[in-house]
């Protein structure tokens, strides 16, 4: 066999190997001639000169040989191609099935690869993206990681860094509550998605404005005149692309603000879509660890060097803020630097690669199926091949021709697959988890096309190379003499098809086990009570009051309360509240919380999940009260020093939830008394532990009064008519107040399982396809074997064999193949399922029950696939079978 396919592969990879051999050959010829001439008495140099003359120039000879080689290659290739097309046209049924199978496999692989490519392989659309980093902080002392920066960090790093070319700070809000600006005076009042940036951010990203100028340090100084840059999209939609917009003033958050620049059309800030405007961040007015950063490293600086640099700068920062020295020491604050791209895409890539792997396995199964079809088909062409061999076609030539046929099939399948991928990509993106970053970068680009081409070629060669193996059974002459029922050849063919079916069954088992594990994970997650009840009946939305209103918190509370009153008047509303964040919307904060009777000297307490809530928050969310009472409006409006904690927090300190009542927590300067204990809420999703949580009165944090998240419990939640009424209720309080992030609580709950359900759906699709292809493959092999053994079966029955024996014979064959496949598949799945372990919940990657059930199902499906041809075999009429020849 090596000589047979070898010829073809040599032709493909020919250039270098042939060149090398040719060089050697000619060098040895020169040596031989030189020796010959030295024997005739010439000196070595003269002999060599004569040898070269006689050879007639080494390079010319090489050229002639090359021309011959490539000429023959092209000529045979063209012949093979024509022949292949003719053969494929002659059996349209076979060609259709094979091409469709391949197109599905290649299409699915291509679509999935475009997602992986867009999300994780493509560089970010900024110059030298590899030197862009996100600077965050780890606080291992309070078990908090990857925090954003505070303004003092920014000032210190900006002034003292030796490794950053520059560092900038930006603010885009948290969780579902994205930063936005209220724009008035341009038609209807509008809530425009906005981004606060320091003046370095745009230069770091290499962005220059289309019109006007970028921010300077002056724009960032408090007290300077208010300026804004608008995005291309906003410019087109609001100003019709009017170039005289620069210098115009618009009202942003109630202040007249000058437009100083328009951003270019292709500008995109990280993953933010439909961003409307950029505002100066003014870091001197800011406080707290709320601001993300982007930095550009100096050329040649590594991430590790930059991290070391930040570590060096942290003590310098302590000099700037001596009052926080203890905090720095206790939290053991340190750097957490990531490449900007890694920071953006996070760990969702792991999920994508798992799905990619699953889809790739389907392609392998598809290839095995096509290979099997070809094997069957080639059996029918034994005569033709034998004639070609007898007429002088070399085995390599015939093998090469068959490989060309496979490649032609693969290329047609690949082209169709590309079309499928093109169509399926949108569906895939719609299915993708909502936290999938860089959706705009997903598409079919050059790398994807190259990938498809590569996959197509590999697929073609993969199943194509099975053919010469099969063809090895034909020797010159032998094929001609036999009547197409050569026993030895068909045994070989059977061995090859059985091996292919074993592979199919094995891979199908791997995929089915993976999807079954995901199903078990999903079931386990669904079984965990999230801590709230009937989330589909809770409608939530955010409003943003203009920032300067935060200076008047009493007025804000009154307005928030007025909105509640209006909403409660809507028919069908049973409870409503406002709070700093909605459970599971990733908007809640984490802060260290002290406990009066559990103070540890010189040690910070761990950070706790913190919500700031109004009364009825627990009733609206359906969070049960375990002990004590809910907050009251009296607590809220009179700022009583009270708090509510979650059950796990209470148990952690006082074992019994009711013992927590009356205990003091919070801040030693103003302790707050625990008045209630409520059930745990899985704020990080049900696959993670429920975080220990403290609920403070919302009046403790003015900032949240200005951007509250409202929640309404009503059976009408989620309907458009209901939302219209809610909108009217809000606008009757303040007609300038737009609603954002309108979602039911169920939306956040489902999102928390989005990765699991995406992987589940994709792997189940892959598993289903694998099962179908595997069953078809097995059916094909058994059916063909039955048709080949009709005569043998006839003889058996004539000699007294019973129908049951025949059935057992055929089913036995199928079962054997399926069982070997299952055994191999179990071994493979045990090895591969650990790639899933990060995604699994409540089930081990080696869960015996899953393996058992999947194996049984697979064997049953295999038996069914064998049963249909086996029944046909049982009905064989001995007389007909024997006569038929």
């Amino acid at each position: 066999m090596p000589g047979r396919i070898g010829s073809f592969f040599r032709n493909l990879l020919r250039k270098r190997a042939i060149e090398q051999a040719l060089n050697d050959e000619l060098r040895s010829a020169v040596e031989l001639l030189t020796q010959e001439k030295m024997k005739e008495g010439l000196s070595q140099p003269e002999a060599r000169r004569q040898a070269l003359i006689e050879l007639g120039g080494v390079e010319q000879v090489k050229e002639e040989v090359r021309a011959i080689r490539s000429g023959i290659f092209l000529e045979t290739f063209a012949q093979d191609l024509r022949y292949a097309l003719r053969i494929l046209r002659k059996s349209p049924g076979f060609t259709t099935v094979a091409v469709l199978t391949l197109a599905l496999g290649i299409g699915a692989t291509t679509a999935m690869f475009s997602v992986v490519n867009g999300v994780s392989l493509k560089p970010l659309p900024y110059p030298q993206p590899e030197s862009l980093v996100e600077v965050g902080l780890d606080l291992p002392g309070i078990n908090q990681f990857n925090w954003p920066l505070c303004p003092e960090d920014y000032f210190t790093f900006r002034e003292q860094s030796r490794t950053f070319q520059d560092i900038g700070l930006y603010y885009m809000g948290f969780g579902a509550s994205l930063y936005s600006a209220n724009v008035t005076g341009l038609g209807r009042p509008e809530h425009v998605p906005a981004l606060g940036v320091t003046d370095e951010v745009l230069p770091i990203l290499g962005v220059t404005p289309l019109l006007g100028r970028s921010f300077t340090r002056t724009d960032d100084e408090p007290g300077s005149s208010d300026t804004v840059m608008i995005t291309y999209g906003y410019w087109r939609s609001k100003f019709g692309g009017d170039r005289s917009v620069i210098g115009k003033a618009i009202d942003v958050d109630g202040k007249p603000t000058t437009i100083i620049g328009v951003l270019p059309q292709r500008f995109r800030f990280l993953d933010m879509t439909n961003l409307g405007m950029l505002l100066p961040l003014r870091p001197r007015l800011l406080r707290g660890y709320n601001y993300f950063s982007v930095a550009r490293l100096k050329p040649g600086v590594t991430l590790a060097e930059a991290s070391a640099d930040v570590t060096r700068m942290i003590p310098i920062e302590v000099e700037r803020v001596p009052e926080r020295a203890n905090f720095f020491k206790d939290t053991r604050i340190g750097p957490n630097l990531q490449l900007l791209k890694d920071y953006m895409i996070g760990d969702v890539v792991k999920v994508l690669w798992v799905v990619m792997g699953g889809v790739g396995l389907v392609l392998v199964i598809a290839c095995a199926n096509v290979a099997n079809l070809l094997l069957v088909k080639i059996q029918g062409r034994q005569q033709e091949l034998a004639i070609r061999a007898a007429l002088g076609a070399s085995p390599g030539r015939i093998g090469g021709g068959l490989v060309v046929e496979s490649l032609v099939l693969a290329v047609i399948g690949g082209a169709l697959g590309l079309l499928f991928a093109y169509g399926g990509l949108q569906a895939l993106i719609a299915l993708a988890p909502s936290d999938l970053p860089r959706l705009n970068d997903i598409g079919i680009d050059r790398l994807v096309l190259l990938f498809t081409l590569g996959v197509t070629m590999v697929a073609g060669l993969l199943f194509g190379s099975m053919l010469p193996l099969r063809y090895a059974g034909v020797r010159e002459g032998t094929g001609l003499r036999e009547t197409g029922r050569s026993v030895s050849a068909s045994r070989e063919r059977h061995r090859a098809s059985n091996a292919l079916v074993v592979i199919q069954v094995g891979l199908a088992l791997v995929l089915l086990v993976s999807s079954a594990l995901m199903i078990r994970t999903f079931q386990a997650l669904i079984h965990v009570q999230p801590g709230f009840t009937a989330p589909a009946e809770v409608e939530t939305f955010h409003v943003h009051f203009p920032p300067e209103m935060i200076k008047a918190p009493e007025r804000l509370v009154r307005m928030d309360q007025a909105i509640l009153d209006h909403i409660e008047a809507i028919p069908g509303v049973s409870s409503t509240d406002f709070s700093s964040a909605v459970p599971m919307d990733a908007g809640a904060e984490s802060d260290p919380v002290l406990v009066k009777d559990h103070m540890l000297q010189g040690q910070l307490p761990p950070a706790r999940r913190c919500f700031w809530v109004s009364p009825s928050f627990f009733r609206t969310m359906g969070i049960p009260t375990v002990a004590g009472r809910d907050l009251t409006w009296d607590d809220i409006l009179n700022k009583r020093p009270v708090a509510i904690v979650s059950e796990n927090l209470a148990r952690e300190y006082w074992d019994n939830p009711s013992d927590a009542l009356g205990k003091q927590i919070g801040n030693p300067k103003a302790w707050q008394q625990i008045v209630g204990v409520v059930g745990n809420v899985y704020d990080d999703g049900t696959s993670r532990e429920a975080p220990a949580t403290v609920y403070w009165p919302i009046t403790d944090a003015d900032v949240f009064l200005g951007q509250p998240a409202f929640a309404i419990r009503s059976a009408r939640a989620g309907s458009q008519s209901f939302m219209n009424e809610v909108q009217q209720a809000v606008w009757s309080v303040d007609p300038d107040l737009p609603l954002s992030a309108v979602h039911t609580l169920d939306y956040y709950y489902r999102n928390s399982m989005a990765r699991v359900s995406f992987t589940l759906v994709m792997l189940s699709l892959a598993g289903g396809m694998a099962l179908l292809l595997g069953a078809i493959g097995l059916y094909g092999v058994i059916a063909y074997s039955v048709s080949q053994r009709t005569r043998e079966i006839g003889i058996r029955m004539t000699l007294g064999g019973q129908r049951d024996d025949v059935l057992r014979l055929i089913l036995g064959h199928g079962t054997k193949v399926a069982l070997i496949g299952v055994a191999i598949g179990i071994a493979a799945a045990l090895g591969l399922s650990r790639f899933l372990s990060g995604l699994l919940y409540g089930v081990k990657p080696t869960d015996p029950l899953t393996f058992l059930v999947v194996s049984v199902v697979l064997v049953l499906v295999s038996l069914l696939a064998c049963y249909i041809p086996a029944r046909r075999a049982m009905r064989v009429d001995p007389m007909v079978a024997l006569k038929y020849e």
Binding site: A29, L32, E54, V61, V65, R69, G396, R397
Partner: protein
């Protein structure tokens, strides 16, 4: 052996320096002659390229000296067609050299070409003598 025996014959089977014209100008008959000579030379034992050239000179009693510019392309073409198979071996002087060996289809080709050639000679002789 060291001097060409006849200009005309040498030109007859010399290699062309102009690649573009290669093959086209040569008639099939002449190319067939070279192939036949090479197959014949290899018929006795496997030989390397230089050996084939020497063997042809020998069996044509010095009448034909095949240029290497024609010989090597021909050998490679025959290898592609599967008439000969190449392998690296030590030469008579213990040098590594690429030896060509006739395959069974090469032998069949040799027989076929020998028959063709006798056929041509018979016809041509008859034609020439009839005139």
């Amino acid at each position: 052996m060291s001097k060409p025996t006849g200009m005309a014959r040498d030109v007859l089977i010399s290699h062309s320096d102009k690649r573009g014209q290669m093959g086209k100008e040569r008639t099939d008959l002449l190319r067939g002659t070279l192939d036949l000579l090479i197959l014949k030379a290899l018929g006795l034992e496997p030989l390397h390229g230089v050996g084939v050239s020497r063997r042809i000179t020998q069996i044509t009693a010095g009448a034909f000296r095949v240029s290497f510019g024609s010989l090597f392309p021909a050998l490679h073409r025959m290898e592609e067609k599967g008439w000969v198979q190449a392998e690296w071996r030590a030469s008579e002087n213990n040098r590594r050299a690429k030896y060509y060996r006739l395959t069974s289809s090469g032998r069949a080709q040799l027989r076929a070409e020998e028959q063709d050639w006798s056929q041509v000679v018979k016809i041509m002789t008859a034609a020439v003598e009839s005139a």
